[in-house]
């Protein structure tokens, strides 16, 4: 039995955490994630969950305690944002390299400086090569659904890797939207009990976790990690199929919106994809064959599948809510362009960096991207590959 609710993104994620009922949560509050762990800690105080809540003095400690709890054999979660994620940096790699299936909501916020508390993806994008699975969500419903599925994906025997469940700061975390949450027992049954194969607190079969691993074996262990990452896509699809059975909601590696017969399209992730759908609808009404590819699984990057979905377009614009300062465009652009190159697709690709530090992006601005793409198709000429959308001159 599902329930219709109207809650903020943070409240909904706290509900997901309550329903997952992890053994351990170690978290430090940071805007715009604060309400999530605040509401969850109330569930702990009220005895609504069996979780051991560890209050820590920093995000470095939050991730360290979560790693310790996961290595000990428990189901462990934390949550963070922006500079908090940056402070976890060292331990992010230890979590993935130790193959610990931690699930962590990340409420996307701009990294300082200058100091800013609003949404962009500079936090998560900086961690894109840390060996974590990364999901992005259009709205609170998807963030909730991703969190529950991430538990199964991370803990899957072919994966055993941590997941970041991203949701846009303020735009999703602090906005009230109506959505459907599953019944507690449905989530309990779906995530099941967690039984680690090898864990620290197993006196029957004692192991060491995290010992020195030098020239003779480090490389092999990294290779095993790479193989596990290769397995993620299949597991994501399998878990999505099962989740559809209890939720009725369909998930893939990405969503194709009116992309079938499209001639021009944008690629994006996060809350802006909802705004982009309105832009696509408006252009379709004018007879323009516009489409959208919304990335759900960003790490590992489903390059082949995305390239196949885009290969029949005439031109595509990739939207990035993060700057890499590489002078070669945003992170999603680099990934999509490489994927198109690999299959020798004949599609002009341009990049739009937008929304940094929470700058609003409107339907009309995305429509202007499509207008630029029409121009590219008409002239066969890309005037400007890397563009900045919505910035004052």
């Amino acid at each position: 039995m599902s329930n219709q609710v109207a809650l903020t993104g943070n409240e909904v994620m706290a509900q997901a955490m309550r329903q997952i009922n992890p053994d351990v949560v170690a978290a430090y509050p940071i805007t715009p994630q604060t309400a999530m762990v605040q509401v969850f800690s109330q569930f702990v105080a009220d005895g609504n969950v069996d979780t051991e809540y560890v209050t820590v003095e920093s995000e470095h400690s939050a991730m360290s305690a979560t790693v310790g709890a996961s290595a000990a054999g428990s189901r462990a979660m934390t949550a963070t944002a922006a500079n908090g994620l940056a402070l976890m940096w060292e331990i992010l790699y230890i979590a993935s390299g130790t193959r610990l299936p931690i699930v962590m909501p990340v409420v996307n916020r701009a990294l300082s400086g200058p100091i800013n508390i609003h949404c962009d993806h500079s936090d998560a994008m900086g961690a894109r090569d840390a060996g974590w699975i990364q999901f992005f969500a259009e709205n609170a419903q998807e963030a909730y659904d991703n969190a529950i599925q991430a538990v199964r994906i991370s803990e899957h025997e072919d994966v055993r890797l941590p997941s970041m469940v991203n949701l846009d700061g303020f735009i999703i975390s602090h906005a009230v939207e109506n959505l459907e949450i599953l019944a507690d027992d449905e989530v309990e049954e779906f995530v099941g009990e967690y039984h680690a194969d090898n864990y620290l607190l197993n006196s029957e079969s004692p192991i060491a976790v995290g010992p020195l691993d030098l020239q003779d074996f480090y490389f092999e262990h990294k290779m095993q990690q790479s193989v596990a990452v290769e397995n993620v896509k299949d597991v994501v699809l399998k878990v999505a199929e099962e989740y559809k059975g209890i939720s009725g909601r369909e998930y893939g590696l990405f969503e194709e919106y009116k992309l079938d017969d499209a001639e021009i399209a944008v690629v994006a992730l996060g809350s802006t994809t909802g705004t982009a759908k309105a832009a696509v609808d408006n252009l379709r009404e004018q007879g323009v064959k516009a489409g959208l590819l919304k990335i759900r699984l960003y790490r590992p990057f489903p390059a082949q599948e995305i390239a196949d979905a885009l290969k029949d377009l005439k031109a595509v614009a990739i939207l990035d809510r993060a700057e890499t300062f590489s002078t070669t465009g945003g992170p999603v652009f680099a990934d999509v362009k490489a994927a198109l190159y690999d299959i020798k697709a004949d599609v002009e690709a341009t990049n739009y960096i937008y929304g940094l530090g929470g700058r609003d992006i409107k339907v009309g601005e995305i429509e202007s991207v499509f207008t630029d793409l029409q121009q590219v198709v008409e002239t066969g000429n890309v005037e400007q590959t890397i563009n900045y959308l919505g910035v004052r001159e």
Binding site: A6, E138, F170, V176, G274, V363
Partner: protein, 190 residues
Amino acid sequence: MTSLTEIRWHGRGGQGSKTASILLGKVAAKTGKNIQAFPEYGPERMGAPVLAYNRISEDKITVHCQVTEPSTVAVLDPTLLSVVDVTDGVPADGTIIVNTTEDGAELKEKLGFDGDVWAVDAYGISTEEIGAPFPNTPMLGALIKATGLLPYEGFLEEIKKEFEKKFAHKPEVVEGNLASIERAYQEVKN
């Protein structure tokens, strides 16, 4: 999205414009509508002009940008009229509801807006019913009357439940807030 209603709330920090937008959103969701309710987060300061928004629709709402062309505007403090252009982006046939002791004709002239303008003394009502000038709940009653956005009886029933949840630790204020809504609904004039 023809059924989409977009609302902008103008208030001063601490007056509860965010709470008003959330309450309206939650009640509308209970009646089966798709909703969004969100404030504009800036540097929050008590007394500074603040904004909150609603989107309410029969259809699924996908957009996640700010509301720039609201068909309905609610102003929680009359002194904002000389500080903020509350008519910004409002279409000619839009609705503006102001907490003021002035009447509709005076307001229209002051706003330079010829559409649907409503006035209600939300400070007076809340001072009498709640014991302090909390304009946000009476403004909800006024907005329902002015817009007909939701059926009044159903709205009252659902908002009572929201109040009972919200004020679980001080149930004595539920009645005053309900009375404020009912009086504002009766007394708001265009």
